[in-house]
Symmetry: C2
Subunit: 219 residues, 2 copies
């Protein structure tokens, strides 16, 4: 009984890690689609999000079934945590999709003008690093990685602010439409990182056994 | 035993309704602070969000305690639904706070230029209508109200698109900074309505007893 239960929790954990890989790949390809104004790649990312939704729904369903078996409080905390993590990851998939949709909407123009290309490339790199470490935290429960994740998130916030400075500087030679694109895109990356931080904090509450709601997960 | 349990679920439901009232009032005052560039009101809304966070954390904690008492699957569904609703409402509080922060950042300038004042006033009115009906859905389980909520959400989406048209029209006489403000503010209202829709759909899954994850709640 206990062994069957542990195997199911392990399989849920493996699926959560798999979802971090999928939403990481989605954001990676969305960034590429954005920088190259690659319509086909953008559409592939948009279609791909359904896969993330199916996987996260499946995780929720299995968590529900295990919770219905009336686990003890420690196991319950793990399962409720897994459901919240699944929900954050699903939202990260949506945000990658949003980036791809913005790239598609402006095609054949590049939604990220030349002046901010480098910054978005950096944001894409950070998103990749942060989601990959988030996957490792879930897989290994090595919460020391949360320090790296928090540092990446701070760097993402810095780039987010930097983009506002660029768009508002007298040197900004593009129009209002480009400024709006940059604003929205930048927010999608920033929120993506926020959700990754939420996931890693959630793992901390599970590992340390802190009360379920004691860690603020909002940003 | 059953009576004590029912009383606790009732008290959780009452608190969820109370939170809809609080986040409704927060968005209402944030809109006022935005339209009047009222610094004191903006700061009051920002401080107020801590109250929402405390209330939603308390709801989560009580749900967790009840789930730990190993309820049957139907009760479990209600409690898990309440936790998700609490999480959406908490996020709605954050979005009201974001509007207030934008108002504060631009003070003494009005963050919503004259040309879009009317649209933001409308968005504020819609936000108020949608959150008030969401509170009624939670309180009464009258899911027929979801039709109204969906209609309000569509209207919010229409205003969101309308703002892009205004900002991008040749008649837009303001600068890039104002365009960015409008873009972000508009997104906060649109997301606020999205979360209200999620909450109302969640009540539907509880009332109809549909499988917990069968209704897509993402936007």
């Amino acid at each position: 009984m206990r062994q069957a239960y542990d195997e199911q929790v392990e399989s849920i954990t493996a699926d959560l890690v798999e979802v971090t890989r999928l939403v990481g790949s989605a954001m990676n390809r969305a960034t590429q689609a954005l920088l190259d104004a690659d319509l086909h790649l953008a559409e592939a990312v948009i279609d791909f999000d359904a896969k993330v939704d199916i996987l996260t729904s499946g995780i929720d369903e299995r968590c529900f079934e295990l919770i219905a078996l009336q686990p003890d409080p420690a196991d319950l905390q793990v399962l409720l945590g897994a459901m919240r993590i699944s929900s954050s990851l699903e939202r990260m998939g949506d945000l990658a999709e949003h980036v791809a949709k913005q790239a598609r909407m402006r095609h054949p123009r590049v939604a990220a003008p030349q002046a901010v290309r480098g910054t978005f490339a950096e944001m894409g790199g950070l998103a990749e690093a942060i989601v990959s470490k988030t996957g490792s935290v879930i897989a290994t429960k090595d919460v020391s990685l949360c320090v790296d994740i928090a540092r990446h998130d701070e760097e993402m916030d810095r780039l987010h602010r930097e983009l506002f400075t660029i768009v508002l500087s007298p040197a900004w030679k593009y129009g209002v439409e480009e400024a709006i694109d940059v604003t929205l895109l930048s927010r999608f990356y920033e929120r993506y990182a926020d959700h990754a931080v939420s996931v890693s904090k959630r793992v901390v509450t599970i590992v340390t056994g802190e009360p379920y709601v004691a860690v603020s997960l909002t940003n």
